[in-house]
Amino acid sequence: MNKIATRRRRLPAAWRTPLALTGAVVAAAWIVIAVLGPLVWPHDPLAQDLPRLAAPGAGYPLGTDALGRDVLSRVLAGAQVTIPLALLLVGLSLLVGGLLGAVAGLFGRWADEAVMRFTDLVMAFPTTILAMVVAASLGASLLNAVLAALIVSWPSYARVIRGLVLGVRTAEFVLADRLLGFSTARILRSDVLPVVAGPMLVLASLDVGTATLLLSGLSFLGLGARPPTAEWGSMVAQAVVNFDSWWLGVFPGLAILTVVMAFNFLGDALRDALDPRTAGTIGEGGAL
């Protein structure tokens, strides 16, 4: 083979770590499963045509549930429910928190006070309990669960982004652009956004895991997915009723764990890649 032609593009050091790779592979696998959907399901996840509560065995490797549905198919189908909703939640939190944080950081004074005190207020309330109250009063549905989760998850974004915007606002290169007479919109786009984008990305990728946990937790409590939706949290809840059939709870739980883990691994590597202080430790000894 022609060796000269294979010019390799190398990923940044933090991305070449085994943890980041594992995270990337697992996350990619789940996303592929979610995209392919019915193509990878051995059965119809809603069809109740198998023996009830059958232990894992031939024909249904992860067993069947109390209604005679294939657990493997339901776990795979669950990816289509949880992953898009977790991403939606993170996107919405980023939007709401980002806007409020940017307003607080840019305009300062009373706008800053108002936004930040409101942020404190929401953060003083325990996330799961607040989300539970909202979800319970809106009525159980997956979209309401996302809405409830949004109410508790935007403040951390608002805080970080406010801090970043505050830091950039007084920087010399922003002052220079101001003196050149650039519009606020242009300064926001070409000066502020590049600085804010990196940390926002880290926060968002770390938060996909948290979002997944929060949403599946709400569904576990019966405040999210409605039957017969194949959602992981509500599947684990079924195991509480059928205690003998361990496979009902174990596999959907493992699905949640692997998705959250994958995004946490990725987020961790991303943070190292973007933070020069921790990145330094990778260079000298390879903290993975």
Partner: protein, 337 residues
Amino acid sequence: MARYVARRIAIALLLVVGVTLVTFVLTNLVPGDAATANLGEQAANDPAIVAAYKAHYGLDQPLPAQYVTYLGNLLTGDLGESQLTKRPVATDLAAAVPATMEIAIGAIVLSVLIGVGLGTLAAVRRGRVIDQLLRIVSLVGISLPTFWVALVAFYVFYYQLDIAPGSGRLSPTADAPPGITGLYTLDALLTGNWATWLDACAHLMLPTLVLTAYCVGLLTRFTRSAVLEVLDADHVRAARAKGLPERVVLTRYVLRAALVPILTVTGLAFGSLLSGTVLVESVFAWPGLGAYAYEAASHLDLPGVMGVGLVVGIVYLVVNLVVDLLYGVIDPRVRVS
């Protein structure tokens, strides 16, 4: 210092009022109706019963008036009557809060002990196998769905191995200790009831460990980075150059300097732990704050929900206050400013 403390307490009180306002607005904004949620179907269709129900709970008053009444009663320690249990919310909370505190305090103490230890170890052995191993362990730890871990632990240790007791705070055969503090372990100890003490401890085990598993990862990660920050600091190098043994350098110079960020995270972790109890309590049938919050929320029991919000808000603010005050103890520079 006194002025600083007074200012902090004033802000905390304002935030508590804010928490009640947020809960009040949220629970009233949403479309659900407490009368239909709590009355039977037949009663809910009878306008006279619904009107009487609303009059009893003051729900026929305009919203601002309801809120002002609530705040007024709050000053006298009256949190209203639960629409679900028909008992005063204060009485319900007095039973639920100690149950939750018993697992939450155990979990936070264990998490800090293990997390700070492991985090320091990882930082000192930065880049070595043990550091990488701990990184994986702590990342997996923060990825665990607590409700699932609780369920698996219950299945394995109670149902299969039969080495853990069943759900609840005590076995049906054990006598509940007299309510002195509401913490069963402490009350049993105070009255010298060893059988109940052992039983209460055994029941505490699994829920506490499940919550700990969730918290330890967070504390390990933060301790590691906090210790890394100070490991190469000048005062640490000076201590080493002086020939102090490594153990003394680590505890008196490194950990002491890293304590402020660790303390901050511990405060935050305690808050998220209280949130986490909702899911854990529902698996272990633990009659705590989380279980009460769940029942109150799903029945749109406004006084119940507001009571829970109030308690958790206060706990959160007290923890933050204590953390802030401890800064002054740990770091003399904070005292000056």
